[in-house]
Amino acid sequence: MKLLTHNLLSSHVPGLRPGGGFPLRIELGHPSELPPEPVPDYEGDEEFLRRVHHVLLEVEVLEGSLQCPDSGRRFPISKGVPNMLLTEEEA
């Protein structure tokens, strides 16, 4: 799963607060090296933009899970594919 996709994902479990279920927290088995806060005036900084492009489109999360900030519900990720299947009670 690319990080760009993660940016678009939200939990579709019914009954969350409006605007809820986003952002899903990425939990990896090991600490990650994601960049810190963007510097001001980042649009002109070529090096930074290149690194952002790399992180958004070229880094993939292969194993781990996504956690909903409102319900704590976890969606596991395996082989780069998040499992968003809900149980019949949740749906």
Partner: protein, 281 residues
Amino acid sequence: MAGSGRRPEHRGPPELFYDEAEARKYTQNSRVVEIQAQMSERAVELLGLPEDRACLLLDVGCGSGLSGDYISEEGHYWIGMDISPAMLDVALEREVEGDLLLADVGHGIPFRPGMFDGCISISAVQWLCNADKKSHSPPKRLYRFFSTLYTALARGSRAVLQLYPENSEQLELITAQAMRAGFTGGMVVDYPNSAKAKKFFLCLFVGTSGTLPKGLGTECANEEPHQAKFTNERTRFRNVKGKSVKKSRDWILEKKERRRRQGKEVRADTKYTGRKRRPRF
């Protein structure tokens, strides 16, 4: 393909029908690959995307990525959803460009509002019409699918869903739930007079009420409006007319008429048509 002549939807839920063996067979079948490519091309065409930029599309029921490959070829990005782990495994093996999600679209589309520039679906939505579990209510699942899809699409974008409806009730159910969810648009039927070539594309608009594109192969339909014919089988009609005696003049005239409607070249009907020939002929 498995259960040829019958509808796969009658054999069980899609995540069980598309197991490892079927997923492999499906993806390697050259006829399937070709048809999926053609339908993907037509669906993307019907999306009416802007010509100058790459777009982000949602592929509902992406399976092993056959339709996704076409989207990538056109220079767009895509995210695919499918309920069959086996099909997604094949997609991973084929190293498709799009990101994949294991999900049941009847539970909803798990994305923030307005994220997609368009959505296509090839041969998938009719699976939502079958209640595979006791708790399933097809109208509820269809509505959940369409309403969350509506939210996930950007204003002014479209969803083009190619499907194989079993009968007109199914078609009406699907269309009704889509309209309830806020979509405008309707059904585009390509080659309505050909049993083999006929394809249904549900063309849905978000926000704008655009004009529905014309179906292909409809220019020759200048007589009364045709009733869309449905069949329990996906491909050919079998006993459509109740048999005229084979090879009789009536049968020959009917067959020629059928071929004319399909747009094929047919000799004119004359007094010699179906005339008894001398034994030596």
